[in-house]
């Protein structure tokens, strides 16, 4: 493992988290009493079949969605007690995001996109850290380009750099490699991995790709809105076996 001490405790957790969409007969129970914790300075993947609630869990953890019941913590802060505005400020101070697609503002250059969360917050950009992140993703010579001039892989790496540059407590990635070819995907995953190993970043990633998941330290399996299993030190083969078992 990496140079950073892994015994940093829990970065984020959910307690008895339930999310119900709709009402009455049409009600869908997307999350059904999920209790799960994510260790600091670790790379955790959330897997599960379509409709298992993995995206909903990520949205609730990130303060993008409000749970029906249960509690969500980021560090010591209970997200369910925060107002909409407080949630917004928390997202910009403490959370980094990488989405599956459409991660960048088309009118801004790559560099501007990377510093966007800091600029929104009116915070000063730490130049040394910015340079370090940019060099890690290998985008030095693409900084002045607009998103339309970047390849899909480059765009996702810019999004990754953006997620890291504000030194958030946690980075949530929602299918970050879903739209990438396997080589670009591997580059992005290597980048996320190095962020955890070299800088002690905490990352939680939702994916359905066993290859992507195998880059994580730990995998949490979801089915029908519940945590059904977890796996440490995963490999692609073990993940595939487990998924087959889950779907059977």
């Amino acid at each position: 493992m990496g140079a950073v001490d892994a015994s940093g405790g829990v970065a984020a957790r959910a307690e008895e988290l339930t999310k119900v969409y709709g009402e009455g007969h049409a009600a869908v129970r997307a999350l059904d009493g999920v209790t799960v914790a994510f260790e600091r300075a670790r790379f955790t993947a959330i897997m599960g079949p379509s409709g298992s609630g993995k995206s909903t869990l990520l949205h609730c953890l990130a303060g993008l969605d409000t749970p029906t019941s249960g509690r969500v913590f980021l560090g010591d802060v209970d997200l369910t007690e925060l107002s909409e505005r407080q949630l917004t400020l928390l997202r910009r101070e403490k959370v980094g995001f990488v989405f599956q697609a459409f991660n960048l503002i088309p009118t801004l250059s790559a560099a501007e996109n990377i510093t966007l969360p800091l600029d929104i917050a009116g915070r000063r950009v730490d130049r040394a850290w910015f340079d370090a992140v940019v060099d890690t993703v290998g985008l030095r010579d693409r900084l002045s380009h607009r998103p339309a001039e970047l390849s899909g892989g480059e765009q996702q790496r810019v999004a990754g750099a953006r997620a890291l540059v504000a030194r958030p407590e946690i980075v949530y990635a929602d299918e970050p490699t879903g739209n990438l070819d396997s080589r670009s995907g591997a580059e992005l995953l290597a980048f996320l991995r190095s962020a955890v190993d070299e800088h002690g970043q905490t990352i939680v990633m939702v994916t359905h790709d066993p290859v992507a998941a195998s880059h994580a330290d730990r995998i949490v399996f979801l089915a029908d809105g519940r945590v059904v299993d977890e796996m440490r030190e995963p490999t692609t083969e073990r993940v595939l076996d487990r998924l087959k078992a889950l779907e059977a």
Binding site: A62, R91, E93, F99, F102, I120, G122
Partner: protein, 849 residues
Amino acid sequence: MWRAALKGLFAKKLRLLLTAASIVLGVGFVAGTYVLTDTMARAFDQLFATVASDTDVVVRAASAFEVTGQGAGGDGTSGRRPIPASVLETVRAVQGVAEARPSVQGYAQLVDPRTGEAIGGFGPPTIGLSWDPGSTVLTLREGRAPQGPGEVVVDAGTARAHDLRVGQEVRVITTGGPQRFEIVGIAGFGETDNLAGATLALFELRTAQELFDRVGRYDEIAVDAAEGVSASELRARIQARLPEGVEAVTSTTVAAENADAFKEALGFFRTALLVFAGISLFVGSFIIFNTFSIITAQRTRELALLRALGATRRQVTASVLLEAVVVGLAASVVGVAAGVGIAAGLRALLGAFGVDLPGTALRVLPRTVLVSVAVGSAVTLMGSLLPARRAARVAPVEALRDRSEQPTGGGMRRRLLAGTALTAVGLAVLLFGLFGGSGSAAELVGAGAALTFLGVAALSPIVARPAALVLGRPLRALGVPGRLGQENAMRNPRRTAATAAALMVGLALVSMVSILSASLKASFTAALEETLRADLTVTTSSFQPFSPEVAERIRALPEVAAVAEFRQGLFRFRGEALLVTAVDPSTIERVAALDLREGSVASLAQGRVLVSADAARERGISLGDRLTLTFPGTGPEPLVVGGLHGEDRLVGDWVVSLATYERLYPEQLDTFVLLKGAEGVSPRALQAAVERAVADFPSLDVQDQAAFREKQAGFVDQLLNLVTVLLLLAVVIALVGIANTLGLSILERTREIGLLRAIGMTRRQLRSAVRWEAVIIAVFGALLGLVVGLGFGVALQRALAGEGLGELAIPAGRLVVSVVLAGLAGVVAAVGPARRAARLDVLRAIAHE
């Protein structure tokens, strides 16, 4: 195919609504104008018909030509000369005459006993009339008929408005000066309280003859036919007996004359309003063009799919046009309904500016509906033609591509050529209209201006990006919202420019009118400084003429050295209706510099006429020419040109002496009096003395040059405000356009907004970004308008330099304020879209396809 188009349309109700709004307003204006003017036309037709029903034949002095609007003396009288009283006996002797009722009329202005202010004077005339006991139209509501000196009956409308009661004493100002009368009765025209706002003072016949200088004379004789005698038959019989210069006409002819005269005036009013409605619709077509451009761009994939499924280009074009027709029709129908409301509003607005209109039920003719709907639909269709053609060019393969950014830079070269050509042609037409001396100058100027607007609109996308870059620079200091606002305003220059262009039109016209009015004021001031030598001016608040008694009283003051009164009247020369000013040749040069180029002012005393050098040059007149001028009262008169003068702002193009005027016109009223103080009298003492002398003429203003100038400036400002209010609708439509564009852009940027919110942008920051975008668009449009308006304003001033607009003045403060206001208006336009953007559900926005 049709179903697909219609379904697409109704799926987006809000879009439909906003797009339609711009057309609704313009069509509403058109319909409102028709409804208003039709309503007025009917009201006056009824009024004139009612008056005509009072009698069968009218006997009066023949007139060389019919004077429309106010009388030749400008006093509400007909401008005809009186007829000798002996005519009455002649008429009564004609077989078939049941009754012959003589009447006289003149100028009579009531003074409100409570406020001491003269009633009326601005707009409707103030008429004095003899009481006709045989009238079936004008009847008593209260009290009794006037029976002798010191008694007056007033109309019910004026009585109601000024709380006049029977038994009350009022002052009445007539040609002979102010006198006190007791109100003995209140009269009305059947149901109607008064004659379209005109004030009426009714006197016993003999009293009226004395008041109006008609002793032994009448103005008209109303003749009732005996049983079984037709009006036309009677007219012929009477005419056969009448002396020369006196005519008999049927009362229906009189009603038709009056109605025609009124309708001519109404026609000008209608045309003026329709011009503003046209401007609104023109701006509306920009909005339609822009909206359809955006929605067809947004529907690229949908259209491509239709093409892939086998729809022809023609069908795609037709589907867009169908949508336009449906929007246009729906908006026009709503617009007609709105027009009825606007008509009611316009009536109130004009009332606020002192133009009172009679109140009857609003009249909606089928023509109003047809024209409004046709115009609204046509404008919508025209606005959508280009977008429809562009939609047809969508290739089927686009259906399979990922949605990409709008193309932004394409076709700039062609645009540059087309825009430049359009602007050049527009300016050429405009300038030809202004300086070419063509008969249809107004039409040419209008068409040239419209083409110029289109040309500049076509060119504006080229400058939109650099403009937004410069305008947005200060915003970058405001952090991410400012920067995003700027970037968003720059990301699609075509869209930004088209949105701004709509505002450009309104702002250009507002700035042009501001420049013209400022120039008018400056020119007037300069002219006064050159011309006016008088210490004081005496005028009524609205240039309503007043009694010569005023000048007499002032002349008698020891503080006054010279008094010059001015009278005005209409005459006809070579088919043109023109204005003549009468002056006192012995005093005129002490109060005004006439800048005589040839001949002499003294020649006026020999009954000659002075013609301005400009008017003389235009008509090929030279000193000593014998001209035949036709006057309404006396007919053709030969007059010799005694001089050519350079000063034409104060006295106008045609000048005669007071003695000549008295010979030519029946009514002697002054329009203004200028005076010079005696040596050693302080300005203050002079003013006080004059004010004391005319104290019982409450409608008079005694002013020094500065105050007089200010009053004139006040008139110009009032006109400017009226025009600005009328142009405001075009600006409002442009703002609807900004809101519309922003709304559609935000829809397009849903995912982007979701992302911004996810990574921590607050709602407030998001709203502010949308606002800044709107401000940039609005200020860009305002600046474009300013540039075009400056050009138009300067060109018009140059063209009118010879018509009393010699000075160019650019009201910089006012122009800057209008740009700032445009920016603020942008903020207002952004309220809705900003709120919608801020309310977007983050999760749904992220997941938005």
